[in-house]
Structures are given as structure tokens and as C-alpha cells.
């Protein structure tokens, strides 16, 4: 026991004090930010300024409405995604809408109305095509006079691969056409507005404890959780691999084995590195909570009502348990790999199955969400390597009976201990045979012989 503590202490102190740890602790959140915020930001911006579109409106009725529809695009999209937010505010606030429109047109579209001025359509087209070629325009749209009955228009552009623009033009034009049709049937504008109003769906979870308001935040929490396990495992799995291989590469193995049995040695390494991981995650989550509190406070101070997803306290306990389980299981696989190989490079090649198991768990979460009580869901949540994600999905959706949760935890932790035991046997024999790559039958012999 004392020796185990000595191993844990060494692993922990050496790693926490290393420059790598400090750099990672500071850089971690920055990298996280880069990976989450930047891609979504990149997807939104369009390089090279607004798309310039010319419109030839032969119907003479559609241009204004098309322009309005196109310019208010973002406002509409945001209302759609904010079903749960106090939406009417946004819709009715015209000023706000104008502001958004202005902002949108800056990087979105600029429209230009083309007057035929007596010229033939062919001449106009030639003229516009020439401008497109000269890059004075990006695209032009011909709205024929019979569009209200025929429902067809033409899009000419330099970059027809820009699906976004084409789709947007088609969508907005449809809205414009629909509005004009309604107006021609003398439907009053306020009725049109009324007809166009979208439905908001508020969802309520029915569970044993009664009804409770649930906006579906549970799913995103579980997925976020799955991602955290995924990232943590990948991040610290390599560290565990390194820790296990360290003594092989430095040939300290013999001294260690002349002093301590391989099981406490391996367990000590695993626990030591895990504590490093928890320390780092602790620092990160503390920073995150502080940041979030500050952010929420700042937003709330501006009078925006904020509803945090409601998560029962018991859920945190389950999160904690399954996080530990997930982390430990995958960490032991890395330890097992480490015990078989002699260099970190070899270990890296062998760790692909770990990633596949992790991704498998995340994929299985989808069918499990849809039918959390199916037998597929049951078995997926009993299989130790999927349980951390699938069982949590079940708990969040339709909480399964307690015995199932207990069973999956028991299977999981037993598997982890079994893997450590297995790894420690391979570790012991494999460590003294440096320089030789182990084949599977050989490893099996080690297990039986050690």
C-alpha cells in the first residue's frame, strides 16, 4: 500500500510540475475555443464581401418583396432556432430587424434592380453576363412575367457551385411569390402575417417523478458529456501510454520489479495520471464555471431572461460515476497497449481500436435516444465500453430501473480492474523483454506464465 502511494505520488508530482502540464492547462481552453467557436464562425463568414445579384423583374411586382425577404433572412432563421426564447419581442421589434438587415447586407447580398428600358431580354442578358464575366456582378436572376402562375425563374451565376446563394434565392423568391399571390387574392397584410406565424413547441418530460419542464437540454448535455470523455481519453490516454512505456525505454523496469509487484505498480501509474487529469479538468471546469457565471451575470444584467437547463442533482452523481468509469476503462486499454509495446510510436499505432470503441459508443447513442427501452439499448448500456455514453443517454431519456444502472456500473468497474490485472501480467513479462515486438500468442503465453 505504501509502495502504491509512492508510485502514485511520483507520477502525480512529476507530471503536474512539468512544463508540458502548465502549458496545456493554460492552452487547453484556448484550443477548445479554437475548435468550437472558430469553425462555426468560419462557416458563417463569406470571404470576399457581399454577393452582388442583379434582378430583372419582368412581372414588375416581385422585386420589393424579394429584396425584403432576402434582407430579412437572418432574422427569420434566428426566430426559427429560438423556439423557446421569448420570441415575439424579436419579431415585433422593427427597429431591431432593420439593424439586423443592415448588418446582414454588409456581408450577405446586395441587390440591384435592372430596368429593361426598352431593350430586349436577350440584350439585357448579354449585358449582365458580360458584367458577371468582368466580376462586376456575381449573379443575376430573371423573373419572368408569368412567374405567379408558372412558378419558374432563372438564375445565372459565375459560381453555380455556391449552393447557399442558389438555395437562398430560390427560398426567398418563393416567399415573395407566395406573398404576392396572397395579396392578389386580397388577403390583408395582417392576415398574411398571421398565416405565416410559426408554431413553437414546448416539450415536457413525463417521468415517474411527475411532469417537468424539459427543453431537451438533456440530450445536448449527454452529447457534451460523451465528447468530454472522448477528448479526455484521447488527451490523457497518450499520457498513460507514455507513463507505462517510460520504464521500458529507460530500463528502470528491473529495479522496479525487484521492489514492487506489477499490479500495484500499474495501478499506481494509472491513478497517478488520472489524478493529473482530474486536476487539469478541475482547473478547466473551475475556469469555465467562473467564466460562465460572469457571462450569465453580464447577460442577465442587460435584462435578458436566461433559463438554464434543469438537471436534477442525482444526474450529477451519475455523470460523475460514468465519467470515472469511462475514463478508467479507456485508460486501462491504453495501459494494456503500453504493456505490450516497447516504444510510444508502436503504442500510437495500436490505439486505433480505442478511438473506434469511443466513436461506436457515440454512434449508438442515436438509436438509444429514439428507443431507450429497447433490447439494443439495454445491451449497449451493459457493454462496458459503451455504457458511459449509452447508459447516460438512457438515464436522461427514460431512466431505467436502478438495478440496471448498478449492474452496468459493476460490469464496467470489474472490467477495468480485470484489464489492469491482465495488463500487469503482460507488463511484467513484456517489460523485461525489451527490443522484441510481441505477437498475440506470445502475449497470451506471458499472461499464463507470469
Amino acid at each position: 500500500m505504501r509502495k502504491l502511494l509512492a508510485v502514485i505520488r511520483r507520477e502525480y508530482i512529476q507530471r503536474v510540475r512539468s512544463r508540458f502540464f502548465m502549458v496545456m492547462t493554460v492552452m487547453g481552453p484556448v484550443i477548445m475555443l479554437l475548435f468550437t467557436v472558430v469553425p462555426s464562425y468560419l462557416a458563417r463568414i463569406k470571404a470576399g464581401g457581399p454577393t452582388r445579384i442583379a434582378v430583372v423583374d419582368e412581372s414588375a411586382k416581385l422585386y420589393d418583396r424579394f429584396r425584403d425577404a432576402l434582407m430579412t433572412e437572418r432574422a427569420e432563421d434566428e426566430t426559427e432556432s429560438q423556439q423557446n426564447a421569448p420570441a415575439p419581442q424579436v419579431n415585433s421589434n422593427q427597429q431591431e430587424r432593420m439593424k439586423r438587415t443592415a448588418q446582414f447586407s454588409e456581408q450577405g447580398y446586395t441587390l440591384e434592380r435592372v430596368d429593361r428600358a426598352g431593350k430586349s431580354l436577350e440584350d439585357i442578358k448579354r449585358q449582365l453576363s458580360e458584367r458577371v464575366r468582368k466580376s462586376e456582378l456575381d449573379a443575376y436572376v430573371i423573373i419572368p412575367s408569368d412567374i405567379l402562375t408558372n412558378g419558374k425563374a432563372q438564375f445565372y451565376g459565375r459560381n453555380t457551385g455556391d449552393v447557399f446563394t442558389r438555395e437562398t434565392v430560390a427560398g426567398r423568391l418563393s416567399i415573395a411569390v407566395r406573398d404576392v399571390r396572397l395579396a392578389e387574392e386580397h388577403v390583408p397584410p395582417n392576415v398574411v402575417n398571421e398565416l405565416n406565424r410559426k408554431v413553437t413547441l414546448s416539450s415536457t418530460k413525463v417521468s415517474a417523478g411527475g411532469e417537468e419542464q424539459d427543453s431537451g437540454g438533456g440530450f445536448s448535455v449527454v452529447f457534451g458529456f460523451g465528447l468530454i470523455i472522448y477528448i479526455t481519453t484521447l488527451l490523457y490516454g497518450q499520457m498513460i501510454l507514455g507513463a507505462v512505456i517510460e520504464e521500458k525505454e529507460t530500463r528502470i523496469a528491473e529495479i522496479l520489479f525487484s521492489s514492487i509487484r506489477s499490479f500495484p505498480l500499474l495501478l499506481g501509474k494509472l491513478v497517478g495520471v488520472s489524478l493529473v487529469a482530474l486536476t487539469q479538468l478541475g482547473i478547466w471546469s473551475l475556469a469555465f464555471v467562473l467564466f460562465a457565471l460572469y457571462g450569465v451575470g453580464a447577460v442577465a444584467a442587460q435584462g435578458v431572461p436566461i433559463s438554464l437547463p434543469h438537471i436534477p442533482a442525482m444526474m450529477f452523481v451519475y455523470f460523475g460515476l460514468y465519467f470515472l468509469l469511462g475514463y478508467f476503462l479507456y485508460a486501462t486499454i491504453y495501459a494494456l497497449i503500453g504493456s505490450m509495446v516497447t516504444t510510444a510510436q508502436e503504442g500510437g499505432q495500436l490505439s486505433t481500436p480505442v478511438v473506434m470503441l469511443l466513436v461506436g459508443g457515440l454512434f449508438l447513442a442515436f438509436p438509444v435516444i429514439r428507443s431507450p427501452n429497447s433490447s439494443l439499448a439495454f445491451w449497449a448500456s451493459m457493454f462496458p465500453f459503451f455504457a458511459p455514453i449509452t447508459m447516460l443517454v438512457r438515464i436522461v431519456t427514460e431512466t431505467p430501473p436502478l438495478w440496471q444502472i448498478a449492474l452496468s456500473l459493476a460490469i464496467g468497474f470489474a472490467t477495468a480492474v480485470g484489464l489492469i490485472w491482465l495488463a500487469s501480467r503482460i507488463y511484467r513479462v513484456g517489460m523485461l523483454m525489451t527490443g522484441k515486438k510481441a505477437s498475440i500468442p506470445e502475449v497470451w503465453r506471458w499472461v499464463r506464465k507470469a
Binding site: 509502495k3 523496469a253 529495479i255
Partner: protein, 304 residues
């Protein structure tokens, strides 16, 4: 052999790796307070034997008893081991490193710190306590490694090639330290290829070749038993007297020096008398006991 209870007893120990037999039916005894030399050519099975003694690997058959008990992991704390494959944590400071190894041997607290300081002083490494391994020379690392083997004051110290990589000054320092350990009543198993050093340090010797024991006993007795009736001679004039097949079996000449091997059973005094009677100027006449080096080579050749 003495009546004192042996520190270590190996009985019919065998270890195989697949088809290959690393150690075959090896029996030996190591008596307390003595330096026991374990010698043999490369690949003879020395390291495997040592690994079995320190309980890193378990013999396929046979038994190993240490201090009168069957080997257990608890007994490991009473052994100090300097393996042939040296290894220290590269990035750890020397002081911390020694502290860790001491803790692995069940030592802790102030006592550990004091011993570490004492040993560092003794081996002239005090200034390096706060340095990392990679900043040390090979010889220094070697000495640090030696400290890890003795820090917990073990009753049995096993040293595998403790002199490799040391300069002559440090070789002497190491020899001195080993003899001090012996004087303190420790039992020492020394495995080395440096026969001159083994010759000076060892009380008992066991030689292994090709997994088998080929030699075992007190060094003095072994050397006597190997005495081939050889005489080292330095003479001026008249080496013709040596050409007597009834007396001399073989002559080797190095400049003025002769090494004369007498026929079995012949008396060296007869040779001396003959030389003196003939008026040959004898400047050196020495009965030669074979060196451990010679014995080693002879035994190794025998097996080949």
C-alpha cells in the same frame, strides 16, 4: 563449507524460455558476510539467475530460499539490486529519485533523507542532488544507481557489473565501498567480467556456462585445485636444461620470462636443483597459481 546458515540457497533451479533453457538444474549456496562471485561468459544464464533471486521471474522448477524462507515479495525489501541494465528517470532530480526508490523499498521520512545525504556525500555526489539525471556523466549515474541498491540497508546486495563505465579512481572507490558493506556483515553477490577485480574481492566463486554450473567453491581452493604445476622463471643462460620431457611438459617464452609447465607429479624442486647445479643464474623462480582469468578461459573453452 561453513556451519553458518547460508543466506541464499538455490536448489535444482531451472528456467526455460520456450525451447531455450537459460538456467539448468542450478544449485548453489551463498554464505553470509562473504562476497560471492557469479561469473560466466555472456549468455551463460547469470542475469536470469539473478532475476530469479530477486523475484522478478519465477523458476520453472526448483526452489530458492532467502534467509531460510521461501522467496516472497516481502523479502524483496531485504535485497539491494544493481541490475546490469542501468536506468534512472531522466527528468527527475537525483535527490527525488533516490527518495522514490527508497520508498519503494519501504523506507521513508527523515531516515530516508538522512541516508540519501550520507550516501551522496560518501560517493562525492552531494553537489548533484538537485540536478537531473541527464545532466550527470555516465559514471555519476552509475554511482547514483549503486546508491539505489544499498539505500535501504539490505542484508543481501546483488551487483551486476558494478564497475562498468567507471574511471580507475571510481573503481577503487566502488571496491572500497563494497568491502565496507562486507565488513558491515552484508552478503554480496558480484557478477562481473572483470576477473582481476573479482579475484581481489571475491571469497567464493561460482561459474556458470551454458546454463550449467561448471565451478563452485572458495576462490582459494579453486585456484589451488587448478594449479597446473607451473613455474615462472627468469634465467640467464642455459635454457637447454629445460628440454627434458620427463620433467617439463611445455614452455612458453616472453622475452626473458619463461613459463614452464611441469609434467603432472613432477616436483618443482627438482627443476630448481637442476638449474642451480648447472650454474644457471636464476633471478626469478615462482610457483604460479592460475589466475581467475585463466581458469575462466579454460573452463569456457572446455565447454565449447
Amino acid at each position: 563449507m561453513d556451519d553458518t546458515k547460508p543466506t541464499l540457497v538455490l536448489e535444482h533451479v531451472t528456467k526455460r524460455y520456450g525451447e531455450f533453457t537459460a538456467v539448468n538444474d542450478l544449485s548453489l549456496q551463498v554464505r553470509p558476510g562473504r562476497v560471492f562471485g557469479l561469473i560466466g561468459p555472456n549468455g551463460a544464464g547469470k542475469t536470469t539467475t539473478i532475476r530469479m533471486i530477486v523475484n522478478i521471474i519465477i523458476p520453472d522448477s526448483g526452489s530458492i530460499a532467502l534467509f531460510g524462507q521461501q522467496m516472497t515479495s516481502a523479502l524483496q525489501d531485504r535485497i539491494g539490486y544493481l541490475p546490469e541494465e542501468r536506468g534512472l528517470y531522466k527528468k527527475m532530480k537525483i535527490g527525488e529519485q533516490l527518495r522514490f526508490f527508497a520508498e519503494l523499498k519501504g523506507l521513508r521520512g527523515k531516515e530516508a533523507d538522512e541516508r540519501i545525504d550520507n550516501w551522496l556525500r560518501k560517493l562525492q555526489l552531494s553537489d548533484w542532488k538537485e540536478k537531473r539525471t541527464k545532466e550527470l556523466s555516465k559514471g555519476m549515474q552509475q554511482k547514483v544507481q549503486f546508491i539505489t541498491a544499498v539505500i535501504h540497508n539490505p542484508d543481501l546486495v546483488i551487483l551486476d557489473e558494478p564497475f562498468s563505465g567507471l574511471d580507475p579512481v571510481n573503481v577503487d572507490l566502488m571496491k572500497e565501498t563494497i568491502l565496507e558493506q562486507k565488513a558491515a556483515g552484508k552478503t554480496i553477490i558480484l557478477s562481473t567480467h572483470q576477473m582481476e577485480i573479482a579475484e581481489k574481492l571475491c571469497d567464493d566463486v561460482c561459474m556458470i556456462n551454458r546454463a550449467h554450473k561448471v565451478l563452485d567453491g572458495r576462490l582459494r581452493e579453486i585456484r589451488r585445485s587448478f594449479s597446473r604445476n607451473a613455474v615462472a622463471l627468469q634465467i640467464n643462460g642455459g635454457d637447454g636444461f629445460l628440454n627434458d620431457p620427463a620433467l617439463v611438459a611445455n614452455i612458453r617464452q616472453n622475452g626473458d620470462d619463461f613459463e614452464v609447465l611441469l609434467v603432472p607429479g613432477a616436483n618443482p624442486q627438482t627443476l630448481l636443483k637442476r638449474l642451480v647445479d648447472a650454474g644457471v643464474d636464476v633471478t626469478k623462480f615462482e610457483l604460479v597459481e592460475p589466475s581467475l582469468h585463466d581458469i575462466f578461459i579454460e573452463k569456457a573453452r572446455e565447454a565449447a
